[in-house]
């Protein structure tokens, strides 16, 4: 009898504390539409260069964020091959005034992550930066302890000095099955109440897009499935239309033809999402990136093809995704009959003027790095993938993407250039 009463008291205390805790969680929040950037009238500006500088290494999954001083910090992973134990998360800062990338540094590795998390980590992958409402910079990146990417978890580090130094890593717990499998790729966003939205996706057993919501301390407070398993929606990108309306675009990994990116939308601040449907954008099972312009148009960077990743395009929609126009084909190696080596040389020289005009021995290093990857296995396989597009407060755009897994390429352009391209492309 006494034991029963003690159990009842224990229950009352436990659930009393639990209900108190539940009451402290933030409620439903609205989206924050893209700020109306003041864009000074300029002449069209576009320039490209490589953000990464390490030779004879594999790089992939670039992302970027604007720093408080108007510079842009990029992140990507780099190592002997994707998924290798020597892969590390690299970062560099681009100064738009100087038009130059700074020194490439390592911000996280398998070893540093394992040491900080106090558990075994076998590899690291996709990094995605975010800025929380308190101004702190965060980096979310994929970590795996066992198996392939399907066994991924997300690890977070934060910085109070804009990425010069980083906190000890913390693990986000997002799945009940040994915390597998959640991965990041799309750009995070802030809700109106200061909580952070993190678009993520699941790859184990079945593939589907999800949305995490994190409080101001970086703790996961909600997880929402955006599409059912088996519908092939991966790597969601969120486009906010207003406080209540948003659209998600995703990579499509299913087998339904024609292969098109999936889209889903909400009308109530993300409480409910429509079922995924095929969008107007082709998708060869590859990541895409998109932003909402101040005037409501959408700008996307993607592989505008049903299969392969040997072209990359910038596309614009003025009707919220119903139709898209090509702004510029940024890379295109489709169906070319020319020999591989001259094509590599031409693509390399067009990508970065500094590399093109570098001393012969420096250029040879870049060329050899590119040749080894593009011509691996005796074929001629170009790959332009994993775009990550951001717009800065000044209105400039920065697009980073994987250039043949050898370099991270950076395209810096402005709205005037987009308008010029649209005028030139108009029938």
């Amino acid at each position: 009898m006494r034991r029963n009463r003690a159990l009842l008291i224990l229950l009352a205390v436990a659930f009393g504390a639990a209900f108190l805790k539940a009451g402290s969680f933030p409620g439903v929040a609205a989206f924050v539409p893209a700020p109306a950037t003041h864009i000074a009238a300029t002449t069209a500006h576009v320039e490209s260069r490589f953000a990464s500088s390490k030779l004879h290494t594999q790089v992939h999954a670039a992302s970027a964020i604007e720093l408080k001083d108007g510079t842009v910090r990029a992140f990507w992973f780099s190592g002997s091959r994707e998924g290798a134990a020597d892969v590390t998360i690299h970062s560099a800062v681009f100064d738009p005034q100087l038009g130059r990338w700074g020194k490439e540094t390592v911000v996280a590795s398998r070893e540093s992550t394992q040491h900080g998390l106090h558990r075994y980590v076998s590899k690291v992958g996709n990094p995605v930066p975010a800025r929380t409402a308190d101004g702190r910079l965060w980096l979310y990146y994929v970590t795996v302890s066992l198996g392939g990417w399907a066994g991924s978890s997300i690890t977070a580090i934060s910085s109070d000095d804009e990425g010069l130094s980083w906190s000890a890593p913390r693990r986000l717990i997002t799945s009940p099955f040994a915390n597998i499998s959640t991965l990041v790729k799309g750009a995070p966003f802030l809700y109106a109440d200061g909580t952070l939205g993190l678009p993520v996706y699941h790859e184990s057993f079945s593939k589907f897009a999800e949305l995490l919501r994190l409080d101001r301390h970086g703790t996961v407070i909600d997880k929402q499935r955006l599409a059912a398993g088996g519908q092939g929606s991966l790597q969601p990108v969120l486009l906010v239309q207003d406080a209540q309306r948003a659209t998600v675009l995703t990579r499509y990994s299913g087998s339904e033809a024609p292969r098109r990116a999936r889209t889903m939308s909400t009308q109530d601040g993300g409480q409910h999402w429509s079922a995924p449907v095929a969008s107007a954008l082709p998708n060869p099972d590859a990541a895409l990136s998109a932003v909402v312009l101040a005037d409501g148009r959408w700008l996307a960077a993607l592989n505008n093809q049903q299969a392969g990743r040997d072209s990359l395009s910038l596309m614009l929609s003025a009707d919220q995704g119903a139709s898209w126009r090509v702004v510029q084909v940024l890379e295109d190696q489709r169906g070319q009959a020319a020999a591989c080596e001259p094509r590599i040389d031409a693509a390399l020289r067009q990508s970065d003027l500094a590399v093109a005009h570098a001393a012969p021995e420096v250029y040879a290093g870049y060329r050899d790095s590119a040749r080894v990857k593009v011509q691996s296995g005796g074929a001629c396989n170009f790959e332009f993938s994993y775009p990550y597009l951001i717009q800065t407060r000044a209105g400039d755009f920065h697009l980073l993407y994987t250039w043949n897994r050898v370099f991270i390429k950076h395209l810096h352009f402005d709205t005037a250039w987009i308008e010029q391209r649209l005028r030139e492309a108009a029938p």
């Binding site: 558990r119 717990i173 398993g229």
Partner: protein, 193 residues
């Protein structure tokens, strides 16, 4: 500096290693009390070897162990054949079947989301606990109360209540134990005929 949630997570894994390894014939033949054996194995498992402890290696794969796991391991350590153990395993197996297939992608509803502190889920859990309390299932009530307390206090790095209630390893154990018990019951019935 190590976060306290790393301490709790590692300690849980080390405890599981201690309880399980102390049952091995090779180890159990040492003529010391079982609790000392467990404590010794725990200490060894937490000792860093080339940057990471054995518990850290295991935790990388296993994740943190639920309060239910620790409770059952505690019963094992005490060698108590608790009469309500079967009932607790049944509840764990039921929860696992309700949670894991859907959470890993079956369908569009994710029950794991309920674990992020919704009032409805907490109320349902409270009703379940009260029902078991009325029926005198003290072990289940104790397990639920400890798990909910640990979640409310933020005992692990997970903010999701499910991770305090069950984990895949206790789920697998429950399903196997119940399956074995079911087979044994069938055999007995066959033998009686």
């Amino acid at each position: 500096m190590m976060a306290y949630t790393d301490l709790t997570g590692l300690a849980g894994v080390a405890f599981a290693l201690g309880v399980m390894l102390s049952r091995l014939p090779l180890i159990s033949r040492f003529a010391v009390a079982r609790s000392w054996l467990v404590a010794g194995i725990m200490a060894l498992a937490l000792l860093p070897v080339s940057d990471l402890s054995l518990a850290g290696y295991v935790r990388g794969v296993s994740g943190d162990l639920s309060v239910t796991s620790l409770l059952l391991l505690g019963l094992t350590l005490l060698s108590r054949a608790h009469p309500q153990r079967q009932g607790l395993l049944l509840l764990v197996a039921g929860a696992a079947l309700a949670l894991y297939p859907a959470a890993m992608g079956l369908g569009s509803f994710d029950p794991y989301r309920l674990g992020y502190g919704g009032y409805a889920a907490l109320a349902a859990l409270l009703l379940l606990a009260l029902w078991h309390w009325v029926r005198g299932n003290g072990l289940i009530v104790l397990g639920l109360a400890l798990a909910v307390s640990a979640w409310a206090l933020g005992g692990y790095e997970s903010a999701n209540l499910w991770d305090y209630l069950i984990d895949p390893w206790v789920a697998i154990h429950a399903l196997f134990a119940l399956g074995r018990a079911g087979l044994a019951a069938l055999k007995r019935r066959g033998g009686a005929r």
